[in-house]
Symmetry: C2
Subunit: 300 residues, 2 copies
């Protein structure tokens, strides 16, 4: 399974980066290969200063070795070896009318001392962070997420949509990071569902990514915007930074397993502002976004 | 002691904000009073868009009540009541030739069920974060720190200087946040030193702040700078954000005790950049700063 999934993310990275380069039309992804001293490494692809994308990364990594002590405590296990691979992407567009997107698909194994698999699971999801709310975009993104889920289980979309709303909650701000999507973790073998079943589901979601995001970029990227719109985008990007550095488990995992810092922190936006006690004007487009982020909504 | 120290920080906030307003010449601190639902509150003073200061805050707070469960675990105690008060300041100058400064002086009490004091201690310090290194400035700042320490104990400066270098180490970047200063915590009563002795020391450091920082601002604030210097400042401010959100215990304490978010996060810089895998040119002024941040240096 680990080889099969690793081959899948290698190929998915190619598909996504070539799709996004075509969409951007100007910038190309810069590739960096890196190795982890304790075992494994990754292939980082970063795009900067494009026509569409101000900054973004579509990264894969596959790391293995002894599970670090801090992560043992986190998983509630003793000294074990582990393997983890995944694809993580974050795209920060230039135009504030285009939402930021994040996606991640990952596979994890922990081993007994004799090398047999103690536990294995999939995780991942995809979610959208708009700066200005277009309800059509939110509905489209969620519809594609739902379609991918429904091909496997009618219960998946409501469950993983809710888990996404819960996970990307910026507790210290008491607001959502964005308008959600899907989030799933610890997808393990059960009597009803084998690991190949989960593989089929997770790759179905992975394969839906471009269909979920690209049409939104295409319809918003040519919209005019003002300096005030850009300032708002940069202030909201500050909340994105806060979530990723204070709450995000993926970032934490990377920092605690001696991952490559520049690959982990590619998720941070290119330009960001913190304005003291900023509040948008009542009934403005900015205030409408905040109202939506205050309480998760049903989009499909 | 708690009343005495609280009166001290009230007065110190006035002294520091009026000194900084005079230095800035344009902007005034905006004051916000806030209350904490569980007990206590604060007086936040923020300056923005000044001639000298792009953004900064000089805040006091005094909070009390039941110690939150997350903080019980942190301090290794059970259900206890606590009181904490302090002054925290961070100043982000416009001109990249002027360093950012941070300082904090605080007092903490935990109580037995019958209300008697279980434990009390002082903490605090002050440290400098330059974007361009002027060795004179680093030496001046450390000399004032040392003078304040030496009036109490010849061992204090080397000890608290080292603790500052250790504390403000951005582990995931393997570099210092800045060029240090003083950091002390858990200053408790001992056979050699009473709480009034510690009060005298901590207030001595508090009283030295303007003398440590203002002359540096005065000599660097009129220096010319380029857009490239400003970009470098914004990239380095990104490291400041990373430290404060990932590692800083004061920020963590504020977030976990339901402090006022806008007061806690006033420490975050006004404009910030994250550039993928940025490296300054060899032998540049920017590279010289990085060399100094790679290994703490003796400044006096």
């Amino acid at each position: 399974m680990k080889d099969q999934f690793y081959q899948y993310i290698l190929q998915l990275q190619d598909t996504i980066t070539s799709g996004l380069e075509q969409l951007d039309g100007t910038a190309k992804f810069q590739e960096d290969l890196w190795e982890r001293a304790e075992g494994g490494g990754g292939r980082t692809r970063v795009i900067e200063n494009g026509s569409v994308f101000e900054k973004g990364g579509v990264n894969i990594s596959a790391v293995h070795g002894a599970l670090p002590p801090t992560m043992q405590a986190y998983f509630g296990v003793g000294q074990v070896d582990f393997f983890a691979c995944g694809l993580s992407l974050v795209l920060h567009p230039q135009n504030p009318m285009v939402p930021t997107v994040h996606a991640n698909w990952r596979y994890f194994e922990m081993y007994e001392a004799d090398g047999t698999v103690l536990k294995s699971w999939f995780g991942g999801g995809q979610d959208l962070t708009p700066y200005y709310l277009f309800e059509d975009d939110a509905a489209h993104f969620h519809q594609i997420c739902k379609n991918a889920c429904d091909r496997h289980d009618a219960g998946f979309y409501p469950l993983y949509k809710k888990q996404c709303d819960d996970y990307f909650w910026n507790t210290h701000r008491d607001e959502a990071r964005g308008i959600g999507g899907l989030f799933f973790d610890h997808l393990q073998q059960t009597p009803e569902r084998s690991m190949p079943d989960w593989y089929a589901f997770v790759t179905e979601v992975g394969n839906s990514f471009l269909e979920a995001y690209v049409p939104i970029v295409e319809r918003r990227n040519k919209l005019p915007f003002t300096a005030a719109n850009k300032t708002w985008q940069e202030i909201r990007r500050g909340r994105y930074v806060e979530f990723n550095l204070v709450h995000d488990k993926g970032t934490l995992f990377g920092l605690k397993t001696n991952g490559r810092i520049e690959s982990i922190l590619m998720s941070l936006p290119p330009t960001v502002q913190w304005v003291y006690d900023h509040h948008p004007e009542q009934d403005s487009e900015e205030a409408k976004l905040l109202a939506v982020l205050a309480a998760p909504r049903a989009w499909v």
